[in-house]
Amino acid sequence: MTWAALVHVVISGLATGSIYALMALSLVIIYNATRTLNFAQGEILMVSTFVGWSALQVLRAPLVVALLVAVLASALLGFVLERLVIRHAISATHFDVLIITLGLSLVLRSAAGIVWTHDEFPFPSFFSNRPLMVGPMRVAPGSLGIIGASLALMLALGALFRWTRLGRAMRAVAQNQRAARLMGISVERVYSSSWVIAAVVGAVAGVLIAPVIFLSSKMGLVAINGFTAAVLGGFGSMPGAVVGGMLLGVLENLAPLYLPSSIKHSVPFLVMITILIVRPGGVLGRVARRKV
């Protein structure tokens, strides 16, 4: 295979990887704030993308409006779910909250199926699908657009976490909840914010990926790869989530070139098992020792 074709595969891998990275980020944001894994993350993505799509159908509005509607819907959904359901389980174990978010994901998916049916719908893209020729290489503008938009969102998140008061509060809670509370940080507000931010990140990812994988009630499954990406980068680390996502996307796209193509869907799993055996802390992370 020529190196130009290889570059093409790597770039489309990076595009898929950006989506995984965004999913991984949204999982990690909630994990860092509340120490739980949100199983409903993918379904929040799916529902908010559907809401954006409905806005598109009803209002005949430009795609930007769909994006905005999706973002608003996701923020609202994240806020409401955290407030109405998760907050009531605040004293429960992580195990319990995991089950609750699993229940939420079932409810959301089923409700979406009832409202929008379980069919697949095409979703318009921000980017044209005519390939760009850069020298001998063919590059899909869609891939570049997804990569660019994701990077922009990641930078915005980085700035939020580094420089804003809320971001500092969230990092403090991630480090030590009790100490953060003693410093006067409202841990409950951090919970709320983490769900809202994660949902918004998911909504953007949803609008970006929907043109590629179609809009359907099943599209929430992309969250599983987001989780693998987060594990790959070291769960809990935000730069790790980005690196892990990119790495996973590229691996997933490269693997079928060298292995039977039917193996593609198993790549995330094999990657996860491998990384857990070889480097449980992820490529960037380290294994934290817990004190009793």
Binding site: L102, L104, R178, V231, I277
Partner: protein, 321 residues
């Protein structure tokens, strides 16, 4: 009291095929099969706090092993078939359990979820063996001179195996091993400090759990008579989790009750496929919020009280909350 309840239960189970129409005999077989899976899952989740979303994968392995064995080697008695199905699945459980030892609850849940997907992919791709999407028709199994061709015959087979495995599970939970597993659930660090070999016991739980599910898979193949990969999707794994959540984590009687409830519910919702996950999700959420400990805790002391309790929050999680 206890003996009377047990005796009545046994009488109902034995007399069921004469009292109930054939479809309900089939349904009762399914309940018993699911109860075996629920007990297996509970040994893993309720006892060692490792959540698995991949038990449909184990069930599929057991089912396909039993089916292929029945087709290729019809002379093998059904007991051996089930045992082999269980052992093969247990071997897979061992292979999966060893790397998964490194995983805490959340990671394990996701790794097992991914495992479930991979099993379905594997079944689809090994179509020379499994016939892929076309599905596999399972002939009636043989036990000595008898062919298990009727619903009633299969029902008795399933019930006998289930009873055996329930008794075994109750006994496991009363032994040193069972206590060690419970200690692991309460606090891994404390258990380790008390001299419990953490890795060995967690692996053991995984292997035993896989064995139970594999045997149940073998029974599933025989009772349902037709296997296709889409009967083992992730929602089946979720159903199993729902069974032990509703029934009660760490309770064997609760597992049976949860299996009965979820299976019956599933069956009565068959005409409302769109609403099924909605109702199941709502059940999961409400039972977690309002009834932690499940049916077993709600019924109080009818079940074995020591295991009826919900898992208390493990010490390691209490750190920074």
């Amino acid at each position: 009291m206890r003996h009377a309840v047990l005796a009545t239960g046994a009488a109902v189970v034995v007399g069921w095929p004469w009292a109930a129409p054939p479809y309900f005999v089939f349904l009762a077989s399914l309940i018993a099969i699911n109860a075996i899976v629920a007990i297996g899952l509970n040994l893993l989740s309720g006892y060692t706090n490792q959540l698995s979303f991949g038990h449909a994968g184990f069930l599929a392995i057991g089912a396909y092993v039993a089916a292929i064995l029945t087709i290729r080697a019809p002379a093998v008695p059904v007991v051996a078939t089930l045992l082999i199905a269980g052992l093969v699945t247990a071997a897979v459980g061992l292979a999966l359990g060893v790397p998964c030892l490194r995983l805490e609850g959340l990671y394990l849940a996701m790794a097992t979820l991914a495992f479930g997907f991979v099993v379905v992919e594997a079944i689809l791709n090994l179509d020379w063996l499994t016939r892929g999407n076309d599905g596999l028709r399972v002939p009636a199994a043989r036990l000595g001179p008898w062919t298990l061709a009727s619903d009633t015959a299969r029902y008795y087979l399933v019930v006998a195996v289930a009873a055996l495995l329930i008794v075994a599970a109750v006994n496991i939970s009363r032994t040193r091993t069972g206590r060690a597993l419970l200690a692991v659930r309460e606090s891994e660090i404390a258990a380790q400090a008390s001299g419990i070999h953490l890795a060995a016991y967690k692996t053991l739980a995984f292997v035993v759990s896989a064995f139970y599910t594999g045997v149940a898979g073998g029974l599933f193949a025989l009772v349902v008579g037709f296997l296709s990969p889409d009967s083992f999707d992730v929602f089946l794994s979720v159903d199993f989790v729902a069974m032990i959540i509703v029934g009660g984590l760490g309770s064997i009687l609760g597992s049976v009750a949860g299996a009965a409830l979820i299976t019956t519910l599933n069956d009565s919702l068959a005409g409302f496929q769109n609403y099924r996950p909605l109702i199941f999700g709502a059940i999961l959420i409400t039972s977690m919020l309002f009834m932690p400990g499940g049916i077993a805790r709600a019924l109080g002391r009818i079940g074995r009280p020591t295991h009826g309790a919900a898992p208390s929050e493990p010490a390691r999680q209490g750190e920074d909350r």
